[in-house]
Symmetry: C2
Subunit: 330 residues, 2 copies
């Protein structure tokens, strides 16, 4: 590595550890960059700040579009900031990796919180595969922690695979729901409820309050039948109003109680260790799959073999053998 780059990384590291937002943003940009030299610098930075990361509670928040995630995060984040916390808001947006657009992470959606000096709101990385976005988000968490953010909120849309990814990187996972549980659940990808440490029925205000209470009870009924997402913790449903700032302080108390209980039982540390190990395995898997599927002749031949297998012209085993012959030939 060149001398100038060492100096650059040292300077970013220093600024970042002092909580300088511009250095944090620079660091994240390096990590998100698809240029090889930026990536290398980003990895070097990560290595340096690594001993200072980990001191936070990582909270995942999901919910179908319309559940009021942005408004909730603004209100919840403001409360945390005003009681002395430093809050980082990140997002994993599975739609952005498909469409190139983004339905999350739009900075302007959280205008008030974005301007709060105690908060750091980062739009979701839009480039690359879900696996790539996954890596970038995990590494961004580490940078934010090193910069002194002690509450990390990771937002995602309730549409499927990304919930499992977010569950794999957070301590506490929350499902934001709204009234009309039946319809709500219909639109929700399977199994998401079972990842949650709390279901929070949002918009429990005005005329909607009693309906929200009813929805809460319905969720509690279903939860009764499901295994808890975290060993030693009973997932329950709650209500809140982001608009009226109701139920948010109680929610933070719940998360704090969760954190304390899970640290005492060791489940907290255990989960983080398991997450790190699984993270290593997922990086290995991604790298192996990428090296195979990004090879030119595989890219060209795979769709033809798929078609033949789907039409029953050759067996899947035969197709696999032939593809590996092409792969190793390269």
């Amino acid at each position: 590595m060149k001398k100038g780059q060492d100096v650059l990384i040292d300077s970013i590291t220093k600024g970042l550890l002092e909580g300088n937002r511009r250095d944090l943003a620079k660091g994240i940009t390096l990590i998100e960059s698809s240029a090889a030299k930026h990536y290398q610098l980003g990895q070097e930075l990560l290595k340096q700040i690594s001993p200072h990361s980990g001191n936070s509670i990582r909270i995942g928040i999901t919910g179908v579009p319309g559940a009021g995630k942005s408004t909730f995060i603004e209100a919840f984040g403001e409360i945390l900031c005003s009681s002395g916390h430093k809050v980082a808001v990140l997002a994993i947006d599975p739609t952005s990796t498909i469409t190139g657009g983004s339905i999350l992470g739009d900075k302007t959606r959280m205008e008030t919180l974005s301007r709060n000096p105690q908060a750091f709101v980062r739009p979701s990385p839009t480039a690359g595969t879900l696996g790539g976005v996954h890596r970038k988000t995990r590494e961004t968490i580490a940078l934010c922690e090193a910069a002194g953010y002690d509450v990390i909120l990771i937002e995602t849309v309730g549409v499927g695979q990304s919930e499992v990814i977010v569950r794999g990187m957070v301590d506490f996972f929350m499902l934001l729901a709204i009234t009309g549980a039946g319809d709500e659940l219909q639109g929700m990808k399977k199994g998401i409820i079972e990842l949650a440490d709390a279901i929070v029925v949002n918009k429990a205000d005005g005329k909607n309050k009693s309906v929200a209470e009813k929805t809460k009870r319905e969720f509690n009924q279903i939860l009764h039948f499901l295994q808890p997402a975290t060993k030693g913790w009973q997932t329950k449903a709650y209500t809140c109003s982001s608009l009226k700032n109701e139920g948010l302080v109680e929610l933070w108390e719940l998360i704090s109680a969760f954190q304390q209980k899970m640290k005492e039982s060791g489940v907290f540390q255990e989960r983080r260790q398991t997450q790190s190990k699984e993270w290593l395995h997922s990086l290995i898997k991604d790298r192996l799959l990428t090296s195979f599927f990004s090879q030119e002749n595989i890219k060209k031949q795979l769709p033809l073999f798929e078609k033949d297998v789907m039409n029953g012209e050759i067996t899947a085993s035969q197709a696999m053998e032939k593809l590996f012959y092409l792969f190793s030939d390269n």
Copy 2:
């Protein structure tokens, strides 16, 4: 390939296509063998019989231990045989791949059905990884179909990952349940209900009958909130008694109606094509992972890197890079 082996495969193929059980068993043994030359012969056999496979309804059956799966399959299989069907019973046993033992597939558990000339009961392959067992079962299905079995029952224990694998190889997936839904569900791995095309509450006889009806209603309540496993099909709960032979004919009528409806809508064929494609991808993935994780220096170094990552001594990305350096060095 040697002349003698060609003759062997031709002879097995011929016998198998005529429905000879000994040739079918020989074919499966080749497929299950871990010896490379047997595997090659098995693949050759598969290629030959491939045009004759596919003509069956593939039914997956899961349920917690104690749900009465063997008794159910015996009773259900007997009814199908007596109405002219040829029934093959296979099993995927996730426990056997871990412990080397087997809690399923014990031939003696289905004594009556095993002796029925219209039925073929095969114990689960116990050797190898879950991925390997997966391959063997898929290929055994093809052999059974080519041998004229038009109903394939694939049994698995309701403990997790194997349900997803079985769902990926069957047309119709059934969850066998018993009364006491709360406890039943507690013991069940998450998300299995949502894979099912029918939930069948077994042991609905004698004093247990009214409780079973109640359990059925409870399941229907939960199902109301979940997405159906198959497009255009509403999953519902039913009761049956394997002991009294009650509800089994109705269940077969349900499966037949499912098959007809799904063939008319094209969902049946579509799912089979998707399954074939996913099967190819899963073979590729297995091969890639095996080639990595079975390499000697990776096997030796991986646990050390895992430990370092878990203790936060190096980042997961660093560990991954170092492992790939070791891998490509070999």
